[in-house]
C-alpha cells in the first residue's frame, strides 16, 4: 500500500487567527428565501449607506491600539451582497485609498470576502469588480448539493428552486478561483441527500465542500442515525473511488472526536466585528436583529462612539468551561462539537452568551462514529494508522 498517498485537507483560512474580520451587512435583501437561513427578517429597507461604511473604515484604520491586527478580511454579506456590488466597489476603493494614504499595514495585507448565492455572478458589474480586485478576493458560491437538495431549501419567494440559475455561474467561478470551496447546510430534511450531494459537488469541480449542520434545534428522533448512515455511505464512496486525494469534505477530520485538552472558545465572536446599515457594531453577524428569533440585538458600539470595550469583555474572556455543562467538559469525544455564540445567545434561558446549546449532541456523536469509520477504513487501505495522527 502506498505510504505517501496524498490525502487532501481543507484549505486553511487566510492569515488564520491573525486577521481582523470585519463584516459589512450591505443589504438585508436577497433574491432567495432559503428555508434554513438564520436571517429570518429579510427586507429592502436595510441598506448600508456609503457614509456609514466610510466612518467604520476610518474608525478601524485610526484606532490602532484597539485594533492591532496586521491583516484584515472585509466580509461583505447580506442578504445577498452582490445586489449591492456598486456600493461594495465604492467601499473597497475607499478602504484601499485610505489605507494607502495612512500607510496602514492593512494595505499590504487584506482580503475581500464574499459568500454569495451566485445568481449575479456573471453580471457585468460583478465581473468588473472581480477583475478589479482579483488578487484580493475570496468568493464562495453556495451550491447546496444536488438539484434536489439545493432546491429543497434555496428557493425563490414563490418557492421554486434556484439550482439551475446558480450552477450557470460555476464554470466561470472555478476558472477564476480554482481552489474555491462551497458551503453546504444540513437541516433535518437534507439528511437523505448528503452522500449524493457531496459527490455531486466534487463532480462539478468544487474540490472543497464545507458542510455543516444547522445550530437550531430542528432535529427529529432518528435523525442522528440517518445522518450517520449517510456519512458512512459517503466514506465508503470516497475510499472506494480514491476521492480523498483531490477532494475534501469538512465532515471528516482527524481532529474530531477527542477529549478536550484546552479550554479555548473556538468561536470568533467578539474578535470579529459586524457593522449594520445604521452604523451599529456587533460581535458577529449572528447578533444582528434580523438574525435573532428570541433576543434583542447585542450592540457593542457604533461608528460615532466607537467600540464599547465593556461589552466585549465577556466575549474576549469567554471560554469553553464557563459555558458548557459538565457532561460536555468531560465528554470523551468532545472536539469538533460545534456551537455558535449567536445561536447560544438566541436560545439561552436568559440573555447570556454563557449557555452553550447542546441540541447538536446526538448529531455530533453520529458524526464522530462515521468519522472514526472513515479514518480507520482509509488507514487500512493506505497501510497507515491515520487515527493515531490526530
Amino acid at each position: 500500500m502506498p505510504q505517501n498517498a496524498v490525502i487532501r485537507e481543507g484549505n486553511k483560512a487566510w492569515e488564520e487567527g491573525r486577521a481582523k474580520n470585519v463584516t459589512f451587512v450591505v443589504t438585508e435583501d436577497c433574491q432567495l428565501r432559503c428555508r434554513y437561513c438564520y436571517m429570518v427578517g429579510k427586507n429592502k429597507a436595510g441598506r448600508l449607506p456609503f457614509d456609514v461604511a466610510r466612518k467604520a473604515i476610518d474608525y478601524l484604520l485610526t484606532e490602532r491600539a484597539l485594533v492591532p491586527e496586521r491583516s484584515v478580511v472585509w466580509d461583505f454579506i447580506g442578504g445577498e451582497p452582490f445586489l449591492e456590488v456598486d456600493l461594495i466597489d465604492r467601499i473597497c476603493d475607499y478602504f484601499k485609498a485610505r489605507a494607502y494614504e495612512l500607510d496602514h499595514p492593512w494595505f499590504d495585507s487584506y482580503r475581500l470576502s464574499f459568500s454569495t448565492n451566485g445568481l449575479l455572478y456573471n453580471e457585468p458589474r460583478v465581473q468588473r469588480f472581480i477583475a478589479k480586485n482579483r488578487t484580493h478576493l475570496s468568493v464562495q458560491i453556495t451550491v447546496d448539493g444536488t438539484r434536489a437538495k439545493h432546491d429543497l431549501q434555496r428557493v425563490y419567494p414563490d418557492g421554486h428552486g434556484s439550482y439551475d440559475d446558480v450552477v450557470r455561474s460555476i464554470p466561470r467561478w472555478l476558472d477564476q478561483f480554482p481552489e474555491s470551496s462551497t458551503k453546504v447546510t444540513i437541516s433535518t430534511d437534507d439528511i437523505p441527500h448528503i452522500t449524493e450531494s457531496v459527490l455531486h459537488l466534487w463532480g462539478l469541480g468544487i474540490k472543497e465542500v464545507n458542510i455543516n449542520v444547522v445550530f437550531e434545534d430542528v432535529w427529529k428522533p432518528g435523525d442522528d442515525e440517518r445522518f450517520e448512515g449517510q456519512l458512512v455511505s459517503l466514506a465508503d464512496e470516497i475510499i472506494r473511488q480514491g476521492l480523498y486525494e483531490t477532494n475534501s469534505c469538512s465532515f471528516f477530520s482527524k481532529t474530531l472526536g477527542h477529549p478536550y485538552r484546552d479550554n479555548m472558545n473556538w468561536c470568533g465572536a467578539g474578535k470579529m466585528l459586524a457593522v449594520d446599515h445604521v452604523g451599529n457594531f456587533f460581535p458577529c453577524v449572528r447578533f444582528l436583529g434580523f438574525s435573532l428569533q428570541n433576543r434583542a440585538p447585542l450592540v457593542i458600539g457604533n461608528i460615532s462612539d466607537g467600540l464599547d470595550w465593556n461589552k466585549l469583555r465577556s466575549f474576549l474572556t469567554l471560554d469553553m468551561v464557563s459555558q458548557s455543562p459538565a457532561e460536555c467538559i468531560d465528554c470523551d469525544i468532545a472536539t469538533g462539537c460545534a456551537w455558535c455564540q449567536g445561536a447560544n445567545y438566541d436560545f439561552a434561558d436568559t440573555g447570556t452568551i454563557f449557555q452553550r446549546s447542546t441540541s447538536l449532541c446526538k448529531m455530533h456523536k453520529a458524526r464522530v462514529r462515521a468519522n472514526n469509520y472513515y479514518w480507520n477504513k482509509l488507514g487500512r487501505k493506505l497501510g497507515r494508522d491515520l487515527r493515531a495522527q490526530a
Binding site: K96, A97, Y100
Partner: protein
C-alpha cells in the same frame, strides 16, 4: 491558495517567505489601487506611481537574488512560484 502542480526546486526560510509575501501583496495592492485612481489629478497618483515602480523593482530583485543564491533550476518558458504555506519554490510552465 494551494498550488501543487509544477516541480519543487527549492525551499526558503520563513523570514524570506515573509519578505516576498509582503512584496507580493503590496505589488498586487498597488496595481489594484491604481485601477481606482488612474487619474493623474488624484492626490495619491504620483506617490502611487512611484511606489509601484519601486515595489516592482524590489520584487524582481528578490527573485533574481534568491534564485542565484539558491541556484534554483530554471527553464525557458517557465517561471517560479512560491507556496506561502510550505515555503517551497516550484518551477511551473508559463500559460
Amino acid at each position: 491558495m494551494k498550488k501543487t502542480a509544477g516541480e519543487a526546486v527549492g525551499k526558503i526560510t520563513e523570514s524570506e517567505r515573509d519578505e516576498i509575501k509582503r512584496l507580493f501583496e503590496r505589488k498586487n495592492g498597488l496595481l489594484e489601487l491604481f485601477k481606482s485612481i488612474s487619474d493623474a489629478s488624484h492626490p495619491l497618483y504620483d506617490r502611487l506611481v512611484q511606489d509601484m515602480g519601486e515595489t516592482a523593482t524590489k520584487f524582481q530583485k528578490w527573485w533574481d537574488g534568491k534564485s542565484r543564491q539558491y541556484r534554483w533550476k530554471g527553464a525557458a518558458g517557465h517561471h517560479w512560484e512560491i507556496d506561502f504555506e510550505t515555503c517551497e519554490i516550484f518551477l511551473k510552465k508559463d500559460r
